[in-house]
């Protein structure tokens, strides 16, 4: 049985039980080395220079774009705009995409899929959830019927509860009502084999740092004809074909959306993360992750006074819970002092928390390197934390 932890230097240096991969994942050796090598051996700016180093950096950057396109089965690297991450991808859409007034979102969205639409003065319509916190399709269709030609923007996997949305069904329904679809893949990229052509989504966003890549880099996938119609997001160098004091013309997508010097080392590091993912048997990864998730869920369910908010069939990546009459922050702090990293609070999903009447939850989330031993150590520490808190309650 392969121990994925061996691929990550972090676990050589730390005994921490890291259960916060939905916030950011650890990075494989190859990613760290690729970024370091870029600065040590061939640091140069891309696209503009004529010298060998610049050409070499440009080739690596564009090769990474092609690799990203393959990773989500996009038709071409022209569909891939590099961004800082999902948040910037959605802000780009909110700023640059026109022709719609309303955005249909789900009740479980991250703030990054709410606030950009408010900033661009869009009407927001919210799909209701069923008792397992899955999308209520009757509510969804009603909104589509009432708001045709809107933009649907929904997370692929809830960052709070781990519910996996059926992106293909969401997209097919939306298209029937003339709506465009964006899927936020922040939590999905590491846990689902994304195929944007099969899903037929119009836009898809990813953050590299949640898929074993560096922070500060991500992508917006878009159908090319839509990217062509969109206005540039930011102006500056590297995105123009001509500039005069009177007016400017822009390059074709994706370059017209990449003004200024990009996160070159981040993109090159991300390419290594994708190569790492490609080197694995993805079916085995999925099986391993499902096993660890089920084990954690089963272990938690054995605890007295546990509150788990969904019993949905398709859960991945993140698992939220509370212990009755104890504050999530107290549990999180005591876990931390026992070497267990979890996330506590509202998880950047305040509307979802308010809807469920919660101040917050304790969230554990998994990466490829998470294993049953992590879960066992977490459970021991959790039981000890509860015991301490109950003693003084």
């Amino acid at each position: 049985m392969r121990n994925y932890k061996d691929d990550f230097e972090f676990f050589k240096n730390s005994d921490n039980v890291y259960l916060d991969s939905a916030a950011t994942t650890q990075k494989p050796y190859s990613v760290i080395e690729a970024q370091s090598d870029f600065y040590k051996k061939y640091c140069a700016n891309i696209h503009r220079g004529l010298h060998t180093l610049s050409n070499s950096a440009t080739k690596m950057y564009e090769d990474a774009r092609a690799l990203c396109a393959d990773f989500i089965n996009a038709k071409s690297s022209k569909n891939i705009v590099f961004t800082k991450g999902v948040t910037e991808g959605i802000n780009l859409l909110a700023h640059s995409l026109s022709g719609y007034k309303t955005v249909i979102i789900s009740s479980l969205e991250h703030h990054s899929n709410i606030v950009p639409w408010q900033l661009s003065n869009k009407n927001i319509k919210v799909i209701e959830l069923d008792s397992e916190l899955n999308i209520d399709y009757a509510s969804y269709e009603k909104l589509l019927f009432e708001n045709p030609n809107s933009l649907v923007s929904i997370t692929h996997i809830s960052n709070v509860f781990g519910n996996v949305n059926d992106a293909e069904k969401i997209t097919n329904l939306a298209h029937r009502y003339g709506c465009l679809v964006h899927i936020d893949g922040a939590q999905a990229g590491a846990h689902i084999k994304v195929d944007v052509q099969k899903l037929d989504v119009d836009f898809y966003t990813l953050s590299a740092h949640k898929i074993y890549g560096p922070t500060g880099v991500g992508l917006l996938y878009g159908k090319f004809e839509l990217l062509e119609q969109m206005r540039p997001y930011q102006g500056g160098g590297a995105m123009i074909s001509d500039v005069s004091f009177e007016s400017s013309t822009y390059l074709d997508p994706p370059l017209k959306f990449e003004a200024g010097t990009q996160n070159i080392s981040g993109v090159i590091g991300w390419a290594e993360a994708i190569r790492y993912m490609n080197s694995l048997e993805f079916d085995e990864v999925i099986l391993h992750e499902e096993k660890v998730y089920s084990y954690a869920l089963k272990s938690l369910k054995n605890l007295n006074d546990i509150v788990i908010y969904t019993d949905a069939k398709n859960l991945k990546s993140a698992l939220s819970f509370n212990i009755k009459n104890l504050h999530h922050e107290d549990i999180g702090a005591l876990l931390d002092k026992q070497g267990i990293s979890v996330r506590t609070g509202h998880h950047c999903a305040l509307p979802a928390m308010k809807m469920l009447g919660l101040d917050g939850t304790i969230r554990i989330s998994f990466g490829i390197y998470s294993d049953e031993d992590d879960v066992n150590r977490f459970m021991m520490a959790l039981e000890k934390s509860i015991e301490i808190l109950r003693r003084y309650k």
Binding site: H327, I388, L389, Y392, K393
Partner: protein, 138 residues
């Protein structure tokens, strides 16, 4: 009075080498603090800037101020108890004349996160405001 109160808590906290034991002591301090009247659990007495809900109010006996706190989280309640303990029993002038950096002696930065440190700073600001209002006759 403030210095003595502070020293007593610093001495007690220094008895624990282990961070978990230190937390347990903080939680225990909070659990022993039962002088909070529930009628003060309102927005007026809610300390803004804490990640959990902390309420804090002040009473006066013979020109000495006494601070009372509660929280919906046990560690926050313990931390609030510590801060109240440091300042309680002093006059408003003593509180206002005290060094605002004196809480650094608790070395809380070693055991609590920056978010919680901000919460502690907010509690201290509320206490100083109570003292100032009392001094001004508000």
């Amino acid at each position: 009075m403030i210095t003595e109160n502070l020293k007593a808590i610093v001495d007690e906290l220094s008895l624990f080498d282990d961070a978990l034991e230190k937390y347990e002591y903080i939680i225990e301090l909070g659990s022993l603090n039962a002088d909070f009247e529930d009628s003060y659990k309102s927005d007026k007495y809610l300390v803004k800037g804490c990640s959990s809900s902390v309420w804090l109010y002040c009473t006066e006996v013979e020109n000495k101020l006494f601070f009372h706190s509660d929280s919906n989280a046990m560690i926050a309640k313990g931390l609030a108890s510590i801060i109240c303990k440091v300042y309680s029993g002093s006059s408003s002038k003593e509180i206002l004349d005290s060094d605002v950096k004196l809480l650094e002696n608790l070395n809380l930065s070693e055991i609590i996160t920056p978010v919680r440190q901000n919460g502690v700073a907010s509690m201290q600001r509320y206490i100083l405001k109570f003292a100032k209002d009392f001094e001004d006759g508000c």
